[in-house]
Symmetry: C2
Subunit: 282 residues, 2 copies
């Protein structure tokens, strides 16, 4: 139980977290920190936050500080926070990359107040109006470098995430970023690229609109995601993302070769191999 | 209203069509034609068909013959059907490609008994057990070469599809195949290739299983689709699919170049352009 929860960023993740933390009794009072007055006001109007304050005041007043902003902004903002945080406070982030942040904070004297978390949940929408009460449930939450955080702080965060229906997975920041490239970042890149493909080639937009079925929607919906959130993720995790992207392009080239050479056997083989994903995604 | 409906193929599309046609009162008795005894039996057990017969008998007994089998098998099977069909019968197919079939049947003396349809609905599952009663609704159904079909036959098919919640779009076979490549076939290829990418690179399958969120599932779910159904579609529509696939690979290479050169501005530009898909996919 935290009396005061401060969310830094008032968007999809932090907003959903705040709504649920209050509903489930983990926080009494929610303070929001935002770069823009418009988001602050929207978060107030939507009942996501009770009060909006500048970063320093909001941090000082908080028991738990929960940071969910673009990952390039996270590092400098987190350093500011860690410089004023005390032994009675817990700081957590929800970023989709973990290596750069953990590295940036590893020598900070207050490192043990910080819990590096990545709840593996999201939608293609952003901003306070995207916050929902059915967030997080059924997904994994990664905690990195658990051993560098105060055990009670880790336990407090785990309790909240578990109460939101998540299961906890412990992982070092480096493997986390590798896995995140495979199971999340590449999906976003293919979706953005697929949207551009269709927009580029298909000039008769009405035809797309009229004909597009569920398959198209499902592969392209992530292309609606926020560039402000996702461009820094791709860039911060660029080596892993490039590895997966190169592999993906080479897999697509195999399909291309099958079609060019009318090689039905190999096409079948590629597709039957892909079917193995049934074992993983029910 | 058809007394006897014969479905050729007893799978996702034909099975859903049969269930709904009966429920909505468009057919009294459903006859199934299948290559395998196992599928026949399953379709009987599931109440999708009332009777299983060999093709010729099933066609002769039918008022409406609805063909939904892999598109490479459709052409020879459809020729067999058209050779025995009479003026009192209607034949329709549900295939995802239209050009090759319409071309194959264009000079058939009974061409006007045939209605070329493509209900733009599906799931990643196949076989009679995949048939569902909430199929088709809210999607487009393309009818090709309407003018070559008997007007009453077209009207009968339109009535059924409309009753199932679809809206009708008229299109020539050639543009149909182009559009289908953009809004359906490429989504399946990217999904198959993405599954292979992840299966190839990510050896620790438990990590995928544990971490995969909704975004991964949504971009990769089509990789569970049947190769027997989709390989012939890609091959029959290979020129259009290759066009779109080449464009898609070049769009992915743009993302790759951004990451390699750490060009954040161009990365933003690509992603903001992709966001325009919001106009099309709500």
């Amino acid at each position: 139980m935290f009396n005061n929860l401060t969310i830094v960023g008032v968007g999809l993740i932090s907003g959903s977290f705040a709504l649920l933390a209050k509903e489930k009794g983990f926080a009494k009072h929610v303070i929001g920190v935002s770069r823009t007055k418009a988001s602050e006001q929207k978060a107030l109007d939507l009942g996501i936050i009770d009060e909006a304050l500048p970063l320093e005041e909001a941090v000082k007043k908080a028991d738990l500080i929960y940071v969910a902003i673009p990952v390039d902004a996270t590092i400098p903002v987190m350093k500011q926070i860690m410089d004023i945080v005390t032994d009675r406070q817990v700081v957590a982030d929800a970023g989709s990359t973990k290596f750069a942040l953990c590295r940036a904070l590893e020598d900070h004297p207050m490192r043990n107040r910080f819990v590096a978390t990545h709840p593996m949940w999201g939608t293609e929408y952003s901003g306070p109006e995207a916050a929902v009460r059915d967030a997080f449930a059924g997904r994994a939450c990664v905690i990195c470098e658990k051993e560098k955080s105060d055990p009670a702080a880790v336990k407090a965060m785990e309790n909240i995430y578990r109460e939101l229906g998540m299961h906890i997975v412990y992982m070092d920041p480096e493997p986390h970023d590798v896995h995140a490239a495979y199971v999340s970042h590449i999906s976003h890149i293919t979706s953005f690229a697929l949207a551009n493909t269709v927009l580029e080639k298909e000039r008769e937009e009405d035809a797309i609109f009229e004909l597009a079925g569920g398959g198209f929607e499902s592969t392209v919906r992530l292309a609606k995601s926020s560039p402000a959130m996702w461009a820094p993720i791709f860039m911060q995790n660029r080596e892993n993302v490039l590895d997966v992207l190169n592999e993906h392009i080479s897999q697509l080239r195999k399909f291309k070769a099958c079609l060019e050479k009318e090689n039905m056997d190999y096409l079948y083989e590629l597709m039957e191999n892909a079917n193995k994903i049934r074992r993983i995604i029910k």
